[in-house]
Each structure stands twice: as C-alpha cells, then as structure tokens.
C-alpha cells in the first residue's frame, strides 16, 4: 500500500505569549513543531505499512523551513517526504492548500506509484479548521471519513476504518483509494529513531516540488486561489461581568460570602433554590 500522510509545520501555539501592555502576540523565538494532531495520522500510516508492506510518504505544503518537520517524520520511519513549496502557494486558505496537496498526491501517483490512501490529522493547532481532509477528498473524488481511530485491510482494495462519534462506534468498509482523517489523540505515536533520521539526511529522500514541477495555474494557488480573505481584525468584545473580588477572613466566611452573593442574585437564586429544595 502506498500511503500519503499530510503534515503541517506549525508555530508552537502553547509557547505564543500575549503582551497585555502592547496588545500583541509575542511570536519571536517561538519554535515550530509538527502539528501535534498529525501524529495519530502518521502513526496509523506507519502501522498499516508495517502490517501490509508498501511505503509511507509524508507531504507538506509549506515554506522550506518545514523540511525539519518532514525530517522528524522520516525519523519516525516514513519512507519518503515531499515538500510542495513555492512563493505562489503563499497566503493560501484551506481551498487553495487542499488544491495544491491534491495535485501533489496526483503527481505522486503518476511518478512514484499509485497512492492508495491519504491520511490527515484532524486539525492544526494554528488554524484548527479540520477542513483539509474533506477538501482533498473533494478534489480527488475519493470517499472519506473523519474521527478515525484505527484501520485494517479487509480484502482486495478495501480498508475497514473504525471511528467514534458522539453517539456511536462505527466501522466502515471503504474502497481504495480513500482519504481518512484521524481523531485527536487516537494513536500514540512512536518515537523518532536516530538511525532513521541519519539515513534520511544521507539518502536525502525529501523531494521538493515547486510550481514549475506541479504546473498549476497561479490563479488557483496561494492568495489568488483563496476565496476567503481576512477583512479586518479587532479585539474580542469583553463580556460584561460584575468583577467583585473578595478576600475572605477564613474558609467559612468565603463560603457564606459566595452564598450571599448567589442567593441575592436573581439570575441564579431560583436555580439554586430549585436544586436545594425543589422549589420552582
């Protein structure tokens, strides 16, 4: 099986701090990481390859800095990596991103060998749209499901995906080629192995394709190929709150103060009365 897995190299949003004085985000020195929600996708791809043979190809549309992220995935055991990088891809929304990724997958199918499965993470931590899986499926015309926790082959060209929604655990038999998007934290990823990483560096399996290779119409990529635009950015309006803060003498004083506030506040008092005494 040839499996492509989508990777995004993202700023570690946990490390982004906010400066309340200047009202800006402090991004300087914020390291980038492989999007944490991509790891279940990578792990699923590697397990399927380990079980059934074939190869795992990591793919990313990103500036060249993302090579570090692809090296990380090669270090986990991916066989190849493809970086789709071009100035013309910059400023893309999810439609334009998924377009380039889909065209990259088609080129892999033509030049490296037919792709059976494309696996994506659920969402990215920097944009958290969860769009890309469904959009790539739309461009390629492949069936897809989200929230996948596991998968196995069940016969010729059919994969059985297990997923969980709010209501049920479900299994689907899906005809390959197909797209899967994994659930957050669905699978524990394997660690990076130094030997794999070294081999990756020596044998250079990172393939770089620019738009000269993909040959896409520049009106379909990057900012131009993005239907959505950011018109404006403002502060989020504050929710009006009472903001009464109390420093109690002792815990009992604290408890009684809270109860006095709540039972004299008509917005909550009736609900508390109902909870305690069943009053309507």
């Amino acid at each position: 099986m040839r499996i492509v897995v989508g990777i995004k190299w993202v700023p570690n949003t946990q490390a982004v701090r906010f400066d309340p004085k200047t009202g800006t985000l402090i991004r300087a020195g914020v390291p980038s990481i492989v999007n944490p929600h991509d790891f279940p996708a990578i792990e699923l791809a590697l397990r399927l390859r380990d079980n059934y043979g074939g190869e795992v190809i990591a793919i990313s549309m990103a500036p060249p800095g993302a090579i570090q992220g692809l090296e990380h995935v090669l270090g986990m055991g991916a066989d190849k990596a493809v970086l789709l990088t071009d100035r013309k891809f910059a400023g893309a929304d999810t439609l334009a991103t998924s377009y380039v990724l889909a065209k990259g997958i088609e080129k892999i199918s033509r030049e490296i060998g037919p792709v059976d499965l494309a696996i994506f993470g659920h969402e990215t931590i920097d944009s958290s749209t969860a769009h890309i899986g469904a959009q790539v499926a739309s461009w390629l015309g492949w069936p897809y499901v989200y929230y996948v926790r596991d998968a196995k082959l069940v016969g010729d060209g059919v994969i059985r995906a297990l997923r969980q929604t709010e209501k049920a655990v479900e299994e689907y038999d899906i005809k390959l080629p197909a797209v899967l998007a994994t659930a957050i934290k669905a699978l524990k990823p394997r660690p990076v192995r130094l030997s794999y990483k070294l081999r990756a560096k020596l044998e250079k399996p990172i393939i770089i394709w620019t738009n000269d290779d993909l040959g896409l119409d520049p009106r379909c990529t990057g900012l131009k190929g993005s239907p959505t635009i950011v018109a404006n950015i403002t502060w989020m309006p504050e929710v009006p709150r009472k903001k009464i803060v109390y420093k109690p003498k002792d815990p009992r004083d604290a408890a009684r103060w809270i109860l006095r506030q709540l039972f004299t506040d008509e917005a909550v008092a009736p609900f508390l009365r109902k909870a305690l005494w069943g009053e309507e």
Binding site: S138, I229, A254
Partner: protein, 366 residues
C-alpha cells in the same frame, strides 16, 4: 453592492458566477430518528441576524435524510421561511460524501448566497466537502456573523488562535458564503407556533456511489448529563491538583444539581475526560452558573463561557486573570473553601429556606 467578478481572473477550476445571482440564507439541518439536532436549529439565530441586515433574503432550512419529512415544520417554527426536504430511503445511512453531494446539487440548482452549518461532528466532516465541491470558501467555528454594509458580503467572525482577537473573514468573489459555528455558541430561536412557511420537496435522481459501506454501528451510552446542557457547572483547572480535589468538585456539583467540567490542563492531567473540556478547542457552554475552581482564566478557556450567566472564581492567586472576567471572585486555597461551601449547602438543604433567610440577614447586620 457586491463585487463584479472578472472571469478571466478566476481559477479556471471554479465556475464563473456573479455574486448577485445568489440569494437566500441556507441552514443545513441535521436529523436522525430522534428529530432535528438542536445544534442545527441554533444556526437559525445567526441566519436571522444576517436576514435582519438583508431583509430581501429568505431563510431556508435544508433537511436531508430518510424519514425526515415529518420534521419539516420544526425549522419554520424557529424562524425559517422555507424548507427544502430531500427524503429518500437511499439516504438511510449517512455517508459524508453522499449527503454532501446532495446539498451541493441543491445549491447548484437554487444558488443560495449563504450556507450555515453547525460544527457538530457531522457538520465538521461534511461542511468542507460541500464548500470545496462548490469551489467556495468556508470559515470554521465562527463566534458571530455580520454583514458588510458596503458590499453586502457576510462577515464570518472567528477568533484566530489567540482567542483575544477576532478576525472578520469574507468571501467577496465566491458564492455561497459558508460558515460553521460550534454547538451552543448561539441559542435556538424561540419557537412561534403560528409561523407558516413553504415546504419544497426535492426528489433525488442519481445518487453518488458512496464508495463505502457502514458495517457496524454500536451506540455509545451517554451516561451523564452533557456539559452543553447543564444549568450549573463546577469546572476544575490545573489548580485542583489531585483526583481528591476533583471529588470535592463533584460533591459540590451534585449538591447543586450540576455537572463537572474542566480546563484543557485539567483534561491533560486526566482530572476530567476530554468530552468535558470547556473552551476554544473544547465545548462552549451556557450554564446559569459557572463555578471555576483553580482555573487561571486563559482566553482560550474563557471563550467557552461567554454565554454563561454568572461566573464564580475561586483561585489562590489574587492576580489570576479569571478575576477580571468573573462576577464573584474569592481569593484563597480552594480546598477548605469548597469544603465549607459544601458544608453550608448541606446545612441549608436540611434546614430549609428559613436558614437561608438567616444567612442573608446576617449580612445586613454586619
């Protein structure tokens, strides 16, 4: 006036259409054997807001599935002007691409200006497929919608990752303009039983080959009250420290007839399950009362409680940002405070409303 699209500037993979050919505000309904999902009815609230600024546009609910026609009146009572129903036994099983394609085909026929989808699990799976197949944009997890007065474009308002700013996103050159919002960001509009509206039944001819088959479906029991529905929530943060602390919170919650939720750090520490996470990447909740224990008040967390009635904060750090975003704050170690609170509540419960009168009088005296 909307922009005039110059076809030669568009990606040739996109059909060239003019925005002013598109009308009406669609809301995708999600239905199963229990009826229409409340989250999709909630999307009628932003639809009405958009309509209030574009009075010529009709609100159209789109109801797709099998044996769903019987629900067609429901969205009308809640504010839809029309309902388009596709009721077909071939839609008995939901497949994202098949349902998505049905809505794509309807949209190609009727040309709606806007499509709103609730970001339920199903909506998140299907929405981007619909948008992409129509070659249009979609904005996920909006917290508000508005209309650009000059162009008439819908503004999709969402927090970028810092949760303290809002980005206004628009889709000036493409229609329909698509957006999703998480459940409980908006209320269900009050029903008006006297409302009537047109119900249009659409027949399916061809149906897309799903390319997949549902082979097993095991319902998972929902044992406890969902936090989205709770009137009273006791929410714990990293400051709760230990599982014993969580038990204390549970005791308080059960006395108040409420449920326990938590911050992301509380989820990461294993204090509460992920389905109880409140915030930007968790759930939005709208309880009457939200008691935050050992929660610092990060913007991403507070985004999930914007609709909460009152917020009580108990935090040991007087500088904790949560105090600037709560109604009633108490500074101190939560443990003895919550213990005392439980004790007082148990006493009130036993002694009855008279004891409460005394407690309130005491305050006046002091």
């Amino acid at each position: 006036m909307p922009v005039k699209v110059q076809c030669e500037k568009l990606c040739p993979e996109w059909p060239c259409e003019q925005p002013d050919e598109f009308h009406d505000i669609w809301v995708v309904m999600e239905a199963d054997e229990h009826g229409i999902n409340e989250a999709s009815l909630q999307m009628l609230t932003p639809a009405k807001k958009i309509q209030s600024k574009k009075p010529d546009e009709k609100i159209v609910a789109v109801l797709v599935g099998h044996d769903v026609k019987k629900y067609a009146e429901i969205p009308i009572k809640h504010g839809a002007d029309k309902v388009i129903v596709v009721d077909d036994p071939r839609l008995a099983t939901y497949y994202p691409r098949v349902y998505g394609q049905v809505i794509v085909d309807l949209a190609k026929k009727y040309k709606p200006a806007v499509i709103l989808v609730s970001a339920t699990m199903r909506g998140r799976e299907m929405g981007p497929y619909i948008a992409n197949t129509l070659r249009t944009g979609i904005t996920a997890d909006c917290t508000d919608f508005d209309v650009d007065e000059k162009t008439g474009d819908v503004l999709m308002i969402r927090p970028p990752f810092a949760a303290i700013m809002l980005a206004y996103i628009k889709t000036p050159f493409r229609r329909p303009q698509m957006g999703t919002a998480r459940p409980n960001v908006f209320p269900v509009p009050e029903p008006d039983e006297s409302r009537t509206g047109e119900i249009i039944e659409e027949k399916l001819e061809d149906i897309l080959d799903p390319g997949m088959q549902l082979v097993s479906h095991t319902p998972v029991k929902r044992s406890e009250v969902l936090i989205e529905k709770a009137e009273i929530i006791v929410s714990v943060g990293k400051g709760i420290g230990t599982p014993e602390g969580v038990q204390l919170a549970e005791k308080l919650a059960s006395l108040l007839g409420g449920v326990v939720a938590g911050s992301r750090k509380a989820v990461d520490a294993g204090f509460v399950t992920p389905d109880r996470q409140v915030g930007q990447t968790g759930k939005s909740v709208k309880p009457v009362l939200y008691i935050a224990i050992g929660i610092s008040g990060a913007a991403q967390h507070m985004l999930g409680v914007r609709e909460a009635g009152r917020i009580v904060a108990i935090n040991i750090d007087p500088e904790a940002p949560i105090f600037r975003q709560s109604d009633y704050g108490v500074v101190g170690d939560y443990r003895p405070i919550v213990e005392a609170l439980i004790e007082e509540l148990e006493r009130l419960k036993q002694e009855g409303p008279q004891a409460l009168e005394e407690l309130l009088k005491e305050a006046q005296a002091s």
